[in-house]
């Protein structure tokens, strides 16, 4: 690479060789316009298929709709700017025609209120996690409607840890994006994720125990949401965070940036580690990595995009649902039974009582527990209190949700569960039939636990 200088001594842009360069990235000097073009080209490369191009002739009316998920964070703003410029350019060159129709979704602020997640075709169910990692829907007789949280904020306020809030919010956003995509009839959905953001996501998903989701969240391609096919593209997947910042600077876009959504270094440093979420910690990790390891971000994204769905465990025990089950909270595929996995590595059996002293203490505990609240013994003495216990229905949760819900206090989490479509209702009935078997087994387990 040769870098020439102007008469004044400033470095000349290595692309146009005319303008004075303003920045150096990837060992190359850029002027403002060449840099903007360089970043825009990254988007064009990933959205180069014919469906984004201006159409003539027979195809004129086949306008493709693209959903842009805007968070007013840095990278999604850059993407919006690039796409708008692309559309402007298409209109000026092709006399008012454009290749696709852009739909912008911004949750919480303009188009969609985040609470819209709670309305719509959902039923609320109370999901509770048990000691033996069984998750159940609780249907107690009391009027649940009163207890239902009115807003997502209230729903999330039940979570004990920030990481659980972050995780559930992530699920809600994702659900809303896809839902809107379907209702707006968009066939492509684009995210503004930069390379750094993708790397953070890959690592954070791994840490949350959602390793099997990495492939689905991070790679581009066709995704199916409720039998609706959407192509997901991350057009800025080759752009680093530092380049996003420079683009914002050069194009005066900083002013539109939503500071609340800002996850840059300063925010990370301000907070105590204990109060941070898993996502924030991972973000800070990448921010603080030494320059010696600058290639780590692209390495992680590269290996993340090489991942595929794991081979699912064979369901020898009970063939509940022909084939793969889906998580009732995040709606992802469950490849391995998380309960069985956890139970295999956890032992909760007590050491037998060896002497009178211990027996006396145990009797005392039983008495005290019954006096304070009969519910306390619920788990141990299931049979005795069968009638008092609210009706339970086993449901399947993925490992990640199991962990997230584990952070929610005792009474469980109210979560909207999708209404089943007619055909699925049938499956649902079959599932509940088998479910009674499940119930029996669970009671056995509980007994073991109680001793």
């Amino acid at each position: 690479m040769s870098s020439s200088t102007t008469k004044a001594g400033a470095v000349v842009c290595s692309r146009c060789k005319i303008e004075e360069s303003l920045l150096v990235t990837r060992k190359e000097a850029f002027c403002s316009s060449c840099f903007t073009k360089f970043i825009s080209n990254k988007q064009r490369k990933l959205m180069s298929s014919d469906k984004f191009k201006v159409k003539y002739g027979k195809q004129v009316n086949e306008i493709h709709k693209v959903l842009l998920c805007l968070s007013f964070g840095r990278s999604s703003l850059v993407l919006l700017d690039i796409i708008i410029n692309l559309l402007k350019e298409q209109r000026s060159i092709h006399r008012g025609r454009q290749g696709f129709k852009l739909v912008v979704i911004d949750i919480e602020f303009k188009i969609l209120n985040i609470d819209s997640f709670l309305s719509g075709s959902y039923d609320f169910e109370r999901i509770k996690l048990f000691k033996d990692f069984n998750s159940m829907i609780i249907k107690d007789g009391s009027s649940l409607d009163e207890k239902f949280p009115q807003t997502v904020q209230e729903l999330l306020s039940k979570c004990s840890s920030n990481s659980s809030v972050e995780d559930l919010l992530d699920i809600i956003y994702n659900e809303l994006y896809f839902n809107t995509c379907k209702s707006e009839d968009c066939h492509t959905m684009i995210f503004g994720h930069s390379m750094t953001k993708l790397a953070v996501d890959i690592l954070a998903l791994t840490i949350k125990g959602r390793g099997s989701l990495v492939n689905q969240r991070v790679t581009d391609g066709i995704h199916t949401y409720q039998k609706y096919q959407v192509e997901v593209v991350h057009p800025l997947r080759d752009v680093l965070d530092s380049e996003i910042d420079k683009y914002l600077d050069l194009n005066n876009l900083m002013q539109f940036c939503d500071n609340n959504n800002d996850t840059n270094t300063t925010l990370a440093i301000k907070k105590l580690t204990k109060n941070m979420t898993i996502g924030e910690i991972t973000r800070r990790y990448f921010d603080t990595l030494d320059k010696d390891y600058s290639e780590t971000v692209s390495t992680v994204v590269k290996i993340g995009s090489k991942l595929i769905d794991p081979i699912s465990e064979k369901n020898d025990e009970k063939d509940d649902n022909n084939g793969i089950q889906f998580c009732k909270i995040c709606n992802c595929k469950i490849f391995k039974n998380p309960q069985a996995w956890l139970n295999r590595i956890t032992v909760e059996e007590p050491f037998p009582i060896t002497n009178d002293e211990e027996r006396a203490a145990y009797e005392m505990y039983k008495e005290a527990a019954l006096q304070i609240s009969p519910d306390n013994l619920e788990e141990e003495e299931e049979e005795e209190e069968e009638e008092g216990v609210p009706q339970k229905e086993p449901i399947s949760l993925c490992y990640g949700c199991l962990v997230t819900i584990g952070g929610v206090p005792k009474e469980g989490l109210d979560w909207p569960v999708r209404n089943q479509e007619t055909q699925e209702i049938l499956n649902e009935y079959i599932l509940t039939d088998n479910g009674s078997d499940d119930d029996g087994n669970d009671d056995d387990n509980d007994d073991d636990g109680g001793n």
Binding site: T206, K208, G209, G211, V214, Y285, I311, Y362, M364
Partner: protein
């Protein structure tokens, strides 16, 4: 006031003595003068019969010692049985460094072997890296363990195997790459030690934290060859008779520390004096921060790691016409003998002997051997040989007799500790 309250307590104690059976008195009442209703709360959450003495790092439940021991031991037993790590009558070498993990491992293996009749023949296997002031002390611990647990002990030293001690390596190549050398050499040394004893199975004290760290490291380094298998509890290769396993795969490091503490096990707790690998250090710090936020993250990462599956690598085959061209050229040159399996002559004049190994989809050759030492290697020459070659290249031609300059930082620390003014 004080005297009054004291006397009250004494009265209460006397009353208690009359009412309570003598056993309880002698045990708990004198030590912990807690009122009855409070005691219910302080009972173990699992058995509800004994006083809870600790909080389990895994799920934060308060447990009594007995329940903790039971959970800890049974979980490891379940891991061993569930994964069929051993067969009856097998000889197993325990990789023992004298640190907490391997000491607990030796202890646990011994008691589980006796309790559940595994029928194993256990041997301690130690590696002497040759770090003065560090390894010699920890080896002393291993020697004590040998007597405590009544197991045979075998020590293999770097100096004997490679004619280099770690102190000499660090003196020659600097402290920064110390862990690279040590790690590569130790792996081989363990196998050779086991082979020397005629044992085909080495168990190591790698715990859940180590496995989680490895998963993160493989992600961060983009190591496609290792990512899928980074959580494997047992590693074996078709080419090597020696397999390795990690019975502590699901065991938290903190629980191992607690177990060693309560069982009063004799272990050596000094960190290695040579700097840990810098990049691994960052991953370790990340894991620590995460654990503070969500203690289960270690198991969560292992769960993710078990679910990683990589795309099959597309085979890049040489196009037929290119092959034809090459063959034609060779025939023209009059050497048409070895067209299909050519022998490579390397720059140092050596000639490749092993060939025709089947490559797997990832380009990783299972059972391939180093052409120099015959040890298992994914490349033509194993990493240890490459490292040693580099070291030999830089070895001083002349040595000073009774030279102590190669002694590492550990010796210096030791000397400083003994200084008095």
């Amino acid at each position: 006031m004080e005297t009054e309250s004291k006397s009250k307590r004494e009265v209460a104690r006397e009353v208690a003595r009359e009412v309570m059976p003598s056993k309880i008195l002698s045990d708990s009442n004198l030590k912990v003068p807690v009122k009855r209703p409070l005691k219910v709360k302080s009972l173990c959450e699992v058995c509800h019969a004994r006083k809870a003495v600790m909080r389990r790092p895994k799920n934060f439940s308060s447990l009594c010692k007995e329940c903790f021991y039971q959970a800890f031991e049974t979980e490891i037993h379940n891991t061993i049985v569930g994964n069929k790590l051993f067969y009856s009558g097998e000889s197993v070498a325990i990789g023992a460094s004298g640190g907490k993990d391997s000491t607990v491992l030796a202890y646990i293996m011994k008691i589980l072997n006796e309790r559940y009749n595994y029928g194993l023949n256990l041997v301690l296997l130690s590696i002497d890296e040759g770090i003065k002031g560090y390894r010699d002390d920890s080896l002393a611990t291993v020697k004590r363990n040998q007597q405590q647990y009544e197991m045979p002990l075998e020590i293999v030293s770097y100096k004997d195997l490679y004619s280099w001690s770690m102190d000499e390596i660090v003196a020659s190549s600097g402290i920064r790459s110390s862990c690279t050398y040590c790690g590569v050499l130790r792996r081989q040394a363990l196998d050779r030690g086991a082979a020397k004893l005629g044992i085909n199975h080495v168990v190591t004290g790698h715990n859940a934290d180590d496995v989680a760290e490895t998963v993160l490291m493989n992600l961060l380094r983009g190591d496609t060859a290792r990512l899928e298998n980074s959580t494997a509890i047992m590693t074996s290769s078709s080419g090597s008779p020696i397999k390795r396993s990690k019975p502590f795969k699901y065991t938290y490091q903190k629980e191992i520390v607690l177990y060693a503490h309560y069982k009063k096990l004799d272990y050596f707790s000094t960190e290695c004096t040579y700097a840990p690998e810098a990049f691994r250090g960052t991953a370790r710090q990340l894991l620590k921060n995460l654990e503070a936020v969500r203690p289960s993250c270690i198991i969560d990462i292992i769960h993710s790691g078990e679910n990683f599956k990589l795309k099959e690598k597309r085979k890049r085959e040489t196009l037929q016409y290119k092959k034809n061209c090459r063959n034609v050229q060779q025939i023209k040159e009059g050497n048409n003998k070895n067209i299909d399996n050519p022998i490579e002559v390397r720059s140092d004049g050596s000639v490749s002997i092993f060939k025709g190994e089947k490559k797997s989809a990832n380009g990783f050759v299972d059972g391939n051997r180093c052409e120099k030492c015959g040890y298992l290697s994914s490349n033509k020459i194993c990493k240890a040989c490459i490292l040693l070659q580099g070291l030999e290249h830089n070895r001083a031609k002349v040595l000073i007799d009774t030279d102590t300059s190669v002694d590492g930082a550990a010796v210096l620390t030791k000397t400083l500790e003994k200084l008095t003014f």
